[in-house]
């Protein structure tokens, strides 16, 4: 409703302000002095023994584990493990069957300059929509692993999405990627929700992978 004011004075007034004018000694204003009365219910009683017994660690609780085997050849295992959070954020790891791990190789370095123009470490993005983040397809190369003995393995993105992050610890210590299969993820990808079904279908479940 558009109200045309007849006078220029500003409404509202402050004379009817209940805070300024609480009336004659009716609501006594205090600070935290009466807080001791407030009882805090037990936190242990707020959950069941079953919840405690069935509690699983963080990396199991929220993530579904999948495997991508499509880049493996007769001679080289390039399998990756994709952990998908309940919010669909996906983390890319090396599979424990990956040649580098199976052959107990060590990494000399990781090359993130995947083409003349694209460096996975130069990934600037803005805002909640992550505008400007590098777009990935399943066969996009995230990096090349370079072993001490001179071998070179590509690691693929495995899903459609936007690159959010390369693990900063892996950048500093490449072998963390091989040594810690929980915290040693390579990349975090925000999947393209329109192709999420496709993403998931292309991956193998833990059971499928291990049989």
């Amino acid at each position: 409703m558009e109200v045309e004011k007849e006078e220029s004075e500003e409404i509202p007034s402050t004379s009817s302000n209940p805070v300024e004018d609480p009336g004659p000694s009716q609501a006594r204003v205090e600070t935290e002095s009466d807080d001791e009365d407030i009882e805090i219910p037990s936190i242990l009683d707020s959950i069941t023994q079953q919840q405690i017994d069935e509690f699983r660690p963080f990396h199991e609780r929220y993530f579904e584990k999948k495997y991508c085997t499509r880049f493996t050849t007769d001679t080289v295992n390039l399998d990756t493990c994709v952990r998908i959070h309940t919010n669909k954020i996906s983390l890319i790891y090396l599979s424990e069957k990956h040649s580098v791990i199976q052959n107990q190789q060590r990494l000399q370095s990781i090359d993130f300059q995947v083409s003349k123009k694209v460096n996975r470490l130069k990934n600037a993005m803005f805002g909640k929509g992550k505008r400007g983040a590098q777009l990935l397809q399943p066969d996009s190369i995230l990096c090349h692993l370079e072993t001490v003995d001179g071998a070179r393995y590509p690691v693929h993105a495995c899903v459609y999405g936007k690159l959010l992050e390369i693990n900063s610890r892996v950048i500093k210590e490449p072998n963390f990627l091989l040594d810690d299969l929980n915290e040693g993820f390579l990349a975090i990808i925000l999947p393209d929700l329109r192709r999420h079904e496709e993403n998931v279908k292309s991956l193998k479940s833990v059971e499928e992978y291990n049989t």
């Binding site: 006594r28 959950i47 669909k88």
Partner: protein, 498 residues
């Protein structure tokens, strides 16, 4: 006799206006003063007409002449019959439902009336330059308000107060409005045209154009004095609305499966309604309002309880019919919410809108006290972990956007403080510990404990050198004194009038 001899001149000007076809209240606006009685102008009119029409004691003749045509300025807005139509509007019955003791009234004017008013001002200033040199003509809407206030007050059983939160607006229309105001397009300053966003013939734009318009140009296009109209304006709808009022309080949430606001989540099953709904259920009836808007100092995750004195919040209450809510009534609302068992409210009270920014500014700087029930990987290390936790006093964290919220938050690294940590064993539990923390607002506590795959550093896992994770989390306090706490022992009536 000079023109400035006021009472006589007033009479002359008054008659001049009446002769041109103005209504008596419009004529009074040009000659009257602060004592003019617009509510019942008969005496003022008599005073002005007696001298000049000395031979004519029956001053009604003056008006009979102008009766056939509507007032050339106000199009009869200020005529008794129009005022009466407004007062008798059946919609006003609904205004009686508001418990406000006061009201303020407004009117929307046809643009033609604004143009006619401007034309008449030019006319009288040319005719009586001395008389109008330092004279303020009472604005039309002001005169309308003065004319109708008492009548409305009687009808509504409320007092007029220009600061009232209860606003009543009468809308008017005029069938020839478009036609008469089109002239403003010709008069529009070309340089201003670009700056006008929408309708150059909007009431606002016509008003501002008239303030700066060149009089000579105006006179070329508009009849001076205003042409005699064939139609009067029409009284349209009446709108009424009480300004929103705000109430504030603190809430506790005792459920581990409840969102703060209604949630249409896809993954998580929510068994019970939200904190907001639980509170709204008991507010709505007390205020008979059209809508409510909930705001709070942050929010907890759906599986986190908020205990202690609770989380500060406020509610914007839109168009309340009832605002006389007593101290006791607020206590009753608190009791009713308490009966839900899952939500509790304290310190419920009216709050002035000026204090609302405290809650949002406080969000940046406030501290929070948390209690976490934590599980450890190795029961044999429990006491060692507890010792390690209790040996550190404060921690500065670097938190990357948690994976949990990464899909809807921007990518960032945030520095946050843990001001204090205190861990203790729980009797009979070999793999559990209770952890109390005071943290900076905006710290992601769950991530601080489990480390979010190394993305929050340091984490409690790093600190103890093992795996530790939160099973259950409670907010024990939000260190923000808002709103003022209320002493429940005092049970006097407290009534606040808007």
């Amino acid at each position: 006799m000079t023109e400035t001899d006021s009472q006589d001149t007033k009479g002359i000007v008054f008659n001049f206006l009446i002769e041109l076809g103005c209504c008596k209240r419009c004529a009074l606006r040009f000659v009257g003063d602060s004592n003019t009685n617009y509510d019942n102008p008969t005496d003022d009119v008599k005073k002005l007409t007696r001298k000049d029409l000395g031979q004519n004691s029956n001053d009604e003749n003056v008006f009979k002449k102008s009766k056939p045509n509507p007032c050339i300025i106000c199009l009869d807005l200020l005529q008794d019959t129009t005022l009466q139509t407004m007062i008798l509007n059946p919609e006003l019955e609904k205004v009686l439902e508001y418990d406000s003791d006061t009201f303020v009234n407004y009117v929307s004017l046809p643009k033609a009336v604004l143009i006619r008013e401007h034309s008449m001002e030019i006319c009288v200033k040319e005719k009586f330059p001395q008389f109008f040199k330092d004279r303020n003509v009472i604005a039309l809407n002001r005169a309308w308000s003065l004319s109708i206030q008492n009548k409305l007050a009687q009808r509504l059983e409320k007092k007029y107060d220009k600061n009232s939160y209860l606003q009543i607006q009468f809308n008017t229309s005029y069938v020839l409005d478009k036609e008469e105001s089109l002239v403003m397009l010709l008069l529009e300053d070309k340089s201003r045209k670009h700056s006008i966003q929408h309708d150059p013939l909007s009431c606002k734009n016509v008003t501002s154009s008239l303030q700066t318009i060149n009089s000579e140009l105006f006179k070329q296009k508009v009849s001076i004095p205003p042409a005699t109209p064939t139609k009067a304006l029409d009284v349209e709808q009446v709108f009424y609305k009480h300004d929103h009022v705000f109430i504030a309080g603190r809430y506790c949430k005792y459920a581990r499966n409840m969102f703060q606001t209604p949630w249409s989540g896809d993954d998580i099953q929510v068994e019970i309604s939200s904190v907001q709904e639980k509170i709204f259920d008991h507010i709505e009836n007390s205020f008979s309002c059209s809508a409510m808007v909930f705001s709070s100092s942050g929010r907890e995750d759906f599986d986190v309880r908020t205990l202690g004195r609770g989380r500060p919040f406020f509610i914007k209450i839109c168009d309340p019919k009832r605002t006389k809510v007593s101290f006791e009534k607020f206590r009753q609302i608190e009791q009713a919410v308490k009966h839900t068992k899952v939500v509790e409210v304290r310190d419920l009270q009216f709050i002035d809108r000026r204090y609302l920014s405290n809650i949002k500014e406080g969000e940046q700087f406030k501290k929070k006290t948390y209690r976490a029930l934590c599980i450890v990987d190795k029961p044999e290390n429990l006491t060692a972990y507890i010792d390690k936790i209790n040996n550190i006093s404060a921690v500065t964290l670097q938190q990357k956007t948690p994976l949990r919220v990464y899909h809807r938050r921007s990518s960032d690294i945030r520095e946050r403080q843990i001001y204090s940590l205190k861990a203790k064993v729980i009797n009979g539990k070999k793999n559990l510990l209770e952890l109390d923390m005071i943290t900076q607002a905006g710290t992601y506590i769950k991530e601080f404990v489990h480390g979010d795959l190394g993305r929050t550093t340091p984490s409690l896992c790093e600190i103890v050198g093992g795996y530790i994770d939160i099973i259950a989390l409670d907010v024990l306090d939000i260190h923000l004194d808002f709103p003022p706490s209320i002493n429940h022992k005092v049970k006097n009536h407290q009534t606040v009038n808007y």
